[in-house]
Symmetry: C2
Subunit: 223 residues, 2 copies
Amino acid sequence: MNIFSLWLVFFNHIIYNISGDKMENLNYRPPKTKVGERSFNKIIRAGKVLFAKDGFSSTSINDIIAKAKVAAGTFYIYFDNKLALYLYLLGEYRINIRHIASEATKGLDKRLDIERAGLKAFISYANKDPLAYKIIWESLFVDPDIFKEYYSSFAKSYIYHLKEHVNSGELRDDLDLETIAYVLMGISNFVGLQIVFKGNADEVDIDYIVDEVMKILQNGMFK
Amino acid sequence: MNIFSLWLVFFNHIIYNISGDKMENLNYRPPKTKVGERSFNKIIRAGKVLFAKDGFSSTSINDIIAKAKVAAGTFYIYFDNKLALYLYLLGEYRINIRHIASEATKGLDKRLDIERAGLKAFISYANKDPLAYKIIWESLFVDPDIFKEYYSSFAKSYIYHLKEHVNSGELRDDLDLETIAYVLMGISNFVGLQIVFKGNADEVDIDYIVDEVMKILQNGMFK
């Protein structure tokens, strides 16, 4: 089991804490061989494309097996059911998004620089993989508790980090950090859409929008 | 045909301009009698509940007819197909949201007051009818062009109104208005989620969050 799988177990554990009765649906078994990894990845890719195109509820395990071109029993080697596959995909986005943000902000100390780099990383990611919105927002239909847990856990982590920068004196100390967390998530999600809607946005477009957002935040949030 | 129906025709016309080949799917015929209105409203309600619960693609016209408890042929008196019903519902949200914002900001001149009142109206609406998110974001799956048109037409209208307040000297004149529009839509959608997640938020909670957002915007956007 690699680090990535460990993270998924950890996040599934968080979801478990929110909605304990769904734990039985979360089980998946990572592949143990190279051949297994290929089948596993085919299933993942087919699931992502079909969930994004037709939605979770309209997609059957048979559809996924057919698109992935794997034998019928292969699906169940790795996933107990369709929900387990969906949660795997959602967990993958959650981890990728946190990972690219943490890579982009590595070595930065000032919160303003961290926000700028994190925003740029997020909207660049959304621009490259607009299916992200579909998979994440589909959770509203799969199970509203999962949708809520997805964003409220991001908000909690945001609040934790913002607090450090209030304490260091960089951020205004008269703001409700939970509200700032939702404000910042809302901004990054919607300027991400703004970029995706352009259809062929490049780094210059992304930098321009990031600069514009930071002008507002610099005066609005920072001292 | 009342004003409301006229607006729907107008908005459907806008959607037509974006994706002309889908025009044939947009047709609906408003009821002409009191009895017809009752059946029409039953279909609307059933469609809203089922689309929000199971998604557009998993819901059949038969499901809607069964839930609405109307005769099989009744659906087709008013709607050509399932997409026509979905677009009617989306159009209804679009109009309701614009309507409550315009009611809430009636008589206000200063942009800061307009933003505050509009934000409060939107998140109060989302708090009362959280199905709004599901119906609107479902458009991502029904047809990404409809999703894009929904938000980009809101953005266009926002830009138009913001420009007036740049000209009047209330807003900073060094900001990209398209980006501001997406920033403001993102903030209202996500603090709306913050409120919905609380489960039992009241007006005091809403006022608190609106005040916090306005603190950021006041320094960030306004002179």
